[in-house]
Amino acid sequence: MGQSRVIIVGAGPAGVRAAAAVVRAGLRPIVIDEGARAGGQIYRRPPENFTRSHEELYGTEAERARAIHEDFAAIADGIDYRPETLVWNVADGHVWTARDGETQAIPYDALIVCSGASDRVAPIKGWQAAGCYSLGGAQIALKAQGCAIGHQVIFLGSGPLLYLAAAQYVKAGAQVAAVLDTSPFWLRVKAAPKLAAMPGLLWQGVKLLGDLKRAGVPVLTGVTPVEIEGDPQTGVSGVRVRHKGAVRHFTGDAVAMGWHVKPEAQIADLARATFAFDPATRQWLPQTDADGRAGNALYLGGDGARVLGARSAEVTGELAAMAALADLGLSVDMDRRRWLLAEKANYARFAKGLSQAFPWPHELVAAIPDEAIVCRCEAVTAATLRASVSTAHAQEANRAKSFSRVGMGRCQGRYCGHASAEIIAAARSVTLEKTGRLRGQAPVKPIPVALKRNDI
């Protein structure tokens, strides 16, 4: 038996910190990155011929972004880095990857999954129109490509990213028609004591709001989305919301929508993590101990386990790696571990404040009109989903998926799963927890049938 085989999935802040910890312990991990360059989505780098500085790209987080990029470059010789590589399955102690028409099954002794997060989106009537993008997507267009998603952009949703992305658009010279937050302002005031766990971040949020107001961007809180207006041929033309008893209309050719992010937990699911329902954020989350152990030689770090933000991801990625190293019989620095755990607790308190200040609008989702599309992949309406519950007697999410195909399209439930659970629960008058959760399925993303197996 040679050196312990450690695989790290993801090269965002959590994956990079995990890799660095494993290299420090004298092992050579395989780092599998779906992206072309390390950094993840949050510290995503443009192609090499782009010239903006870290300060221009990442603002207040420039130093952290630079540290992640530089520290990853510094361990390049100590790792087996596999960019542009998809992990599509985990089975029998092997990670299955796909790249350039080839697939490999790679055995591991410890699997550290730092798979990150994707936008949590609520279906709004009309959101299928071309020009409607996820909030994270809108930010990526600017960060990685220097583009705005439209000529007049409406930001709709809730959470810190709503204000951050809108302010970044304004700063880059884009036209921002409005920022429409479904959360009422008083919830922010109520959550202030928890948000004060990270005074710097709280202050950044206040400052962003000031930037938007100074730029003359209308910022409305406590809105109820009515409709994203548009045409199947030409796409988005505007947004209507109810605000303080009146219907307001905003003209725009693009919508950036999102309500925080949620873990990309499909790989953890296939690696047999157990999931538990989290009532505070109304979602199922993979379970770990404080360090990130999920059982079966599986360790989870970063937002892919629980969304605590990019700064926390560095902490939880390192913790997950230290747990893996300890279980492999290697020594770890217990003082360092204690410090990391304390940091994590502070980020968790802040994240709890954020989820209270900018909640997932579950009542709005449960009440969306029958004619609204829930599944953006295959244009399935709320009426069809509700009929699967009432007529076909689907009792839980996976059954309703079979009948309605909501959750069965190409995104595999990433952008409809949370919403469909709310709609099913409301249609059955049961708790969200009782609707269950969509099971992860391999392949976690579409892969070519003609993949050639090439194990090394």
């Binding site: 443009p46 903006r52 244009a379």
Partner: protein, 107 residues
């Protein structure tokens, strides 16, 4: 045709030539295929479900992070490409229609 995306910064890059449904267009080196197409037009493809009511019509992507699979287009050879993660290359020939048999329209 109207461009959907608007370039804000980093426009000083060498041009790249490609064709979209046989029409010659220009993009910039370092663009994703998605940006190349949406700075030259307003959509990437038509939905297979566009005949349903309500129609989802023409598609222009959604997540830009390889998760939603809404941005599929095709090379001239019939290879499926995810526009948000495929770098544009000189001489590319892109089809916004699946070159093989399309799905039966039962609507």
């Amino acid at each position: 045709m109207t461009a959907r995306f608007r370039r804000l910064v980093e426009t000083d890059r060498p041009p790249v030539a490609l064709t979209i449904d046989g029409v010659a267009v220009t993009a910039l080196a370092g663009d994703t295929l998605m940006v190349a197409m949406l700075t030259n037009g307003d959509a990437l493809r038509s939905s297979e479900f566009a005949a349903l009511e309500p129609s989802d019509g023409r598609r222009a992507g959604f997540c830009l992070m390889v998760a939603c699979q809404d941005c599929w287009v095709w090379s001239a050879g019939g290879e499926r490409l995810r526009a948000c993660s495929t770098p544009v290359q000189n001489g590319m020939s892109i089809s916004t229609q699946q070159p093989e048999a399309t799905w039966a329209n039962l609507a």
